[in-house]
């Protein structure tokens, strides 16, 4: 069985400050990990994914994440956030048949 834990339900951050969103996973098999973003009243958009290879993954909009197998983590970071980064962020792990198991989400609120 696979599961994902997002440790922070809400992260307030000032504009141009860095942000880190934490994600831990559990899995008995090889994992594929994803971060999705959901802007208000919109669907889910893929930010980045880890399938194999380099543990540092770069995504869209300046986000990056690091896969750490020993700590079973896949934390998302951005060095300098914009107001437009205000959204909900979901960590997900891929299971059999490509089914995605999502974490509970982290709401990022960027203020000036």
């Amino acid at each position: 069985a696979q599961s994902v834990t997002q440790l922070d339900s809400q992260v307030p951050v000032f504009e141009e400050a860095p942000v880190e969103l934490r994600c831990n996973y559990s899995s008995s098999v090889s994992v594929y990990l994803f971060w999705y973003v959901q802007y208000p009243n919109q669907g889910l958009q893929l930010l980045l994914k880890y399938l194999s290879g380099s543990t540092l993954v770069k995504g869209i909009n300046g986000f990056e994440a690091e896969f750490n197998k020993s700590q079973t983590s896949f934390h998302l970071r951005k060095p300098s956030v914009h107001i437009s980064d205000t959204a909900e962020y979901f960590c997900a792990v891929s299971g059999s048949w490509g089914k995605l198991q999502f974490g509970a989400g982290t709401q990022v609120v960027v203020t000036p």
Partner: protein, 115 residues
């Protein structure tokens, strides 16, 4: 850029009624999914569909739910007798192939309100 579309964007129905939520996946995609998100909660997997049959389903996907790909382009989710607790945002997603796991492309969702 191709995208997944869903209709309607918002559906209001009375408890006990049947609803059909429609999705048009990206044309060359082979794997299709339905997820739901109850307000304020996480996104939950409902069902995956490949080669005209269900490949995996969750505990949520009971006998009240069914999926169909009636005409090679649409992918539908039917709820036979809606309950209040079915109120949620329903997302359709599609994917190119399974051999190399890749991202799923999500539609904008249908907000279902059961009264």
């Amino acid at each position: 850029e191709p995208e997944v579309t869903q209709t309607p964007s918002h559906q209001v129905t009375q408890m006990g009624q049947e609803v059909i939520l429609r999705c048009v996946p990206i044309s060359n995609h082979l794997y299709f999914y339905w997820y739901r998100q109850i307000l304020g909660q996480k996104v939950e997997f409902l069902v995956s569909f490949y080669n005209n049959e269900i490949s995996e389903k969750s505990e949520i996907f009971d006998d009240q739910f069914s999926v169909e790909r009636p005409d090679g382009s649409n992918f539908t989710l039917k709820i036979r007798s809606t309950k209040l607790e079915d109120s949620a945002m329903y997302f359709c997603a599609s994917r190119v192939k399974l051999a190399r796991p890749g991202e799923q492309y999500f539609g904008p969702g249908t907000r279902l309100t059961v009264t």
